[in-house]
Amino acid sequence: MLFSAILTGLVLGGTYALVAMGLTLQYGVARIMNLAYGDIIIAASFGAFVLFTAFGVNPLLGMLLVIPAGFALSWLIYAVMLQPLARRSRDRGRLEGDSILATFGLLFVIQGVALVIFGAGFQSYSFLAVPVDILGTTIAANRLLAFVLAVVFGLGLWLMLTRTRFGTVIRAVAANPASAPLVGINVDSVARFAFALGGALAAAGGVVVSMYLTFSATMGVIFTMKALIVVIMGGVGNLMGALAAGLILGLVETLVASFIDPGLTLAATYLIFLAVLVVRPQGLFGKTAR
């Protein structure tokens, strides 16, 4: 019982970590607090759902379509809506406020489109719903696949950021956007790319989520909240922190749901969030205040 809860928790946590990495990229590099992030995740879930149920496309193959779509959509959102705000605001606080408000509006637009197309009901599809035995505990194969995918994407992103020249450029902008132009970095285009990359990760997370969870058009806000909690818990811009915090959150939620009461999982989430904020506002792995 305990072992199976831990296993389920790790799977859920892996998904949280994956989606949080995208958000930490958007906030850490592009300096945009994207409150419509969860709605991109849900949009990707619907994308995978439509591809699978209407066209019989395997979600793994569907990713080849949905992830680039997430990248393109986010690129467009940044270019059309957020770049003008970024240019207009001289200081960071102003951009934070404006981007929060603008992405709020975006949240409602995406959610509204999803509601018009799919209605408010919960959707799911059955993909690889076969039990697999791990050390005497059974778990559905789709959850296991979700965990593997989360690890693969997370590792891929980490390698890209730490081993490639372009990754270094992104980290330079994240570390010091004011000095980056001095070494010939175009901050505008790097920010746009990072924002789009974050959107691609959100889309990947959305496909992964759709494999083993039921979802609805109005669930985006919950994902945004959880991704934000993971980002803040792990320390803004810290990928390893996001990974650790995602796993912690997934574990706590599953343990609370199986041993205390399923109705208290969100309460537990916010309680951890508040506790971390009060004790370590910079996050578990973050450096001291900005």
């Binding site: 705000l85 408000l101 709020f104 509006g105 509204g112 909690i229 508040l274 506002p281």
Partner: protein
């Protein structure tokens, strides 16, 4: 003195509205007053500090729920008093925990707070009282709600006026402009913010409590609807959160617009709401009144030129 007399005349005139307005216009009036109170209370704290709070509906819902729970047990005025105390206690807890934090964390925490409160109320109702949802039967008609809200709005505006003229309002503006300067001036940042946050939250709680009898049936998903918080933010932003009458002036057209939209475009409501939100951020970052002011000064300057 003239202004005060004028305000009193307007107030008395508005108090006579239920005497000749039909049920539908009266309902609209209640809605406008309700959102006017919420937006003014929101701007009282969030205007000068620029802390975007999304917890409005958490306090609103707490007020409504307090009435639903206690209406049969206590006399009505006492119920309102208890609601105010509940709002104050929650505001103090939330404030002490979060007001030390930087802006973005505050936004996110208040974003989640509503959800947390809703979850806890739902959990309590399901596991302890074994019922989800409560009935509110109070001998309070719409005109009584209207008068109470009108009184609350007048009181809120008076408090907001007093705050903007007092030392604490000045202190809050300094904090909003630059917290470092504020602390060097010897302003007690946390205490100042906490005081105003609490006042603002108690008013929001009362707004919820007063409007509770309008629904005969109350459920967490009804009174803790997060859209309310968002609406309050855009109303205050549209009107201009740093003006006394700004939030109220934003609330009137937007409330009427939202009523019309939800009646005529129920399916596309949230898309239009979202686009409007984006447009307001882009076009009127400082609110309608500020935009009007700058337009006015540009016009008059042009006239002054030879």
């Amino acid at each position: 003195m003239m202004k005060l007399v004028l305000a009193l005349i307007v107030l008395v005139a508005l108090a006579f509205v239920p005497a000749f307005a039909g049920p539908y216009p009266l309902g609209l009036g209640i809605g406008i007053l309700g959102y006017g109170v919420l937006a003014t209370a929101w701007a009282m704290f969030s205007g000068p500090t620029r802390y975007i709070s999304l917890a409005t509906v958490a306090f609103f819902g707490l007020g409504a729920y307090t009435v639903a729970v206690l209406a049969d047990v206590l006399p009505y005025p006492l119920v309102l008093l208890v609601a105010a105390v509940v709002g104050l206690v929650v505001a103090l807890i939330v404030g002490l925990a979060t007001l030390r934090l930087a802006g973005i964390y505050f936004v996110i925490f208040t974003f989640g707070l509503t959800e947390l409160v809703r979850q806890l109320v739902t959990y309590y109702e399901v596991n302890v009282t074994r019922t989800l949802g409560r009935y509110v039967f109070l001998p309070i008609g719409p005109e009584h709600i209207y008068w109470q809200l009108l009184a609350l709005l007048a009181a809120t505006l008076a408090v907001a006026y007093w705050v903007s003229r007092s030392r604490i309002g000045l202190a809050l503006r300094v904090i909003g402009d630059d917290p470092d300067v504020a602390s060097h001036l010897g302003i007690r940042i946390t205490r100042t913010k906490l005081t105003l946050f609490s006042i603002s939250c108690v008013i929001m709680t009362l707004a919820g409590a007063i409007q509770a009898p309008r629904w005969t049936y109350i459920e967490p998903s009804i009174v803790f609807n997060p859209t309310t918080s968002f609406l309050v933010v855009i109303m205050a932003l549209l009107g201009g959160p740093n003006r006394l009458f700004g939030p109220l002036l934003g609330a009137i057209p937007l409330f009427l617009l939202f009523e019309w939209l939800s009646a005529n475009f129920p399916n596309h409501y949230s898309i239009i709401l979202g686009l409007l939100f984006i447009a307001i951020v882009f076009v009127l970052p400082n609110g309608v009144l500020a935009a009007g002011d700058s337009l006015w000064s540009r016009l008059t300057r042009r006239e002054a030129r030879p």
